[in-house]
Amino acid sequence: MKRKLIVSSSPHLHKDESVIKIMWMVVVSLIPAGAVGVFVFGLYAFWIIILGIITAVFTEGLIEILTKRKVTILDGSAVLTGLLLAYNLPPRVPLWLPIVGSFFAIAIGKQVFGGLGQNIFNPALVGRIFLMASWPKYMTAFTKPFDTVTSATPLALLKEAKFIEQITYLDLFLGKRGGCIGEVCIFSLLLGALFLLLRGYISWHIPIPYILTVGLFAYIFGGKTLFSGDWLFHILSGGLILGAFFMATDYVTSPLTAKGQVIFGIGCGIITSVIRLWGGYPEGVSYAILMMNAVTPIIDRYTKTRIYGTRCAK
């Protein structure tokens, strides 16, 4: 008798997935958007991305060595944080900005809480708003596509109610506009998002309600009169697609249940729209996601599913 019957506890069916694999898959799915960003804004953007990633990985390793914990620099999460942070930077920032931002994102946004799985807030966005609060003049200096001439983003132009250059929806969709490195090409972002959705790494429950809410708000309140807003413009501009598919869906900082995720997405959409339409900043995706990150534990508490075989909790 060589083979013994081994009775183990559930789960019995294993899928060939792990945190490490998922993290690297998300990184891969983001490559097309970055490639277009580098194509549009020049090789300088490439160095921003590389420096962001290297600093994130280095910081993670350094802190884990100093605090005598397991070094997890190869699990892809630090790479993803650095990558997302760099994607959220304007294309002409000084090269020390991604370094400082990545350091802050990993050290304060993630390791202070105890590393992957413990952080309350999305680390990349923590890094971004730190940079935004510290050096606003660099973080709001955008350039024209294929050029080094400074220009505002479409949303900023809209906010200042200035003359909007003729930007077609196709330009917005393909990325021919001012903006952050990784957010401009909606097409390649959607390509990456589709890949993640089909593989089941992310679900539609956060991004779709998020985007629809922003569209709805823009349609109702975005125009000169009610129900006349340019909803497609609002969906295609800014960092909405990048934020909705790649940052709001972060496993650690978003709710667990489907119902909670829909609430999370709608909340993000409302906050984003309020900031865009009535707030002081032209764009509010990062603040919206961070605010909803903060209420994720409450959402989780009130959307707890009933355990099979037990009665409904009163």
């Binding site: 400082v100 304060i108 202070v112 730190f130 609060a133 510290s134 050096w135 606003p136």
Partner: protein, 196 residues
């Protein structure tokens, strides 16, 4: 005599009001933007602490138990008024910089906390040195926090620009920067305590 020195020293490290007792965080967050403000606030709070501890310890036997808190507040408010008028007369610039936080020393929980927990139970001499130690501990904590914030947030120390070309992170001049700095320092203090 040794006990008195102990009462004095405990406020500086072992029972530091900011980092160990976590008291008086509101003025700490608000005024620790520059070292000068920190020293000013620390001196004002120290004066109030010493004065109120002294008086409350002297009159502790005459204060009815049930209305002791209002009595403490009256004593504290007297010293705060003295401080504020002195500050207005001799350093109006500092008074403007500290703003509402000078009168708010009345409700500073370090002052009330020491009155309630210490001065109303201890001898006059002990209370005097307790107040002095706590005040100096509070001031040192303020200086530490404000030095970090002033350097990172403005690139300056005592208003003097230190490194040319250093672009300060404005974040550290904001209240959120203060929360972060205090949180990290609290963490380091706890680490230090756990090790020793």
């Amino acid at each position: 005599m040794r006990k008195v020195i102990g009462e004095f020293l405990k406020g500086i490290i072992k029972e530091n009001p900011t980092f160990v007792l976590a008291l008086g965080l509101c003025p700490t967050l608000a005024v620790s933007v520059s070292i000068i403000n920190g020293i000013g606030m620390g001196l004002a709070a120290s004066f109030v602490l010493v004065g109120s501890n002294l008086i409350i310890s002297l009159i502790k036997n005459f204060i009815p138990q049930r209305i002791r808190i209002p009595c403490f507040i009256v004593v504290i408010a007297t010293f705060v008024t003295i401080t504020e008028l002195m500050m207005k007369a001799y350093s109006p610039a500092l008074n403007r910089a500290l703003g509402i936080y000078v009168p708010l020393i009345v409700v500073n929980c370090i002052v009330l906390g020491r009155a309630e927990a210490y001065a109303s139970k201890q001898s006059v001499v002990n209370s005097f040195f307790d107040g002095l130690g706590m005040g100096i501990g509070f001031m040192l904590a303020l200086i530490l926090i404000s030095a970090i914030r002033e350097f990172l947030g403005k690139g300056e120390l005592f208003g003097v620009n230190l490194i040319r070309g250093f672009e300060p992170a404005f974040f550290f001049s904001l209240p959120s920067g203060a929360l972060l700095v205090i949180g990290l320092l609290l963490g380091f203090f706890n680490l230090f305590k756990a090790k020793s």
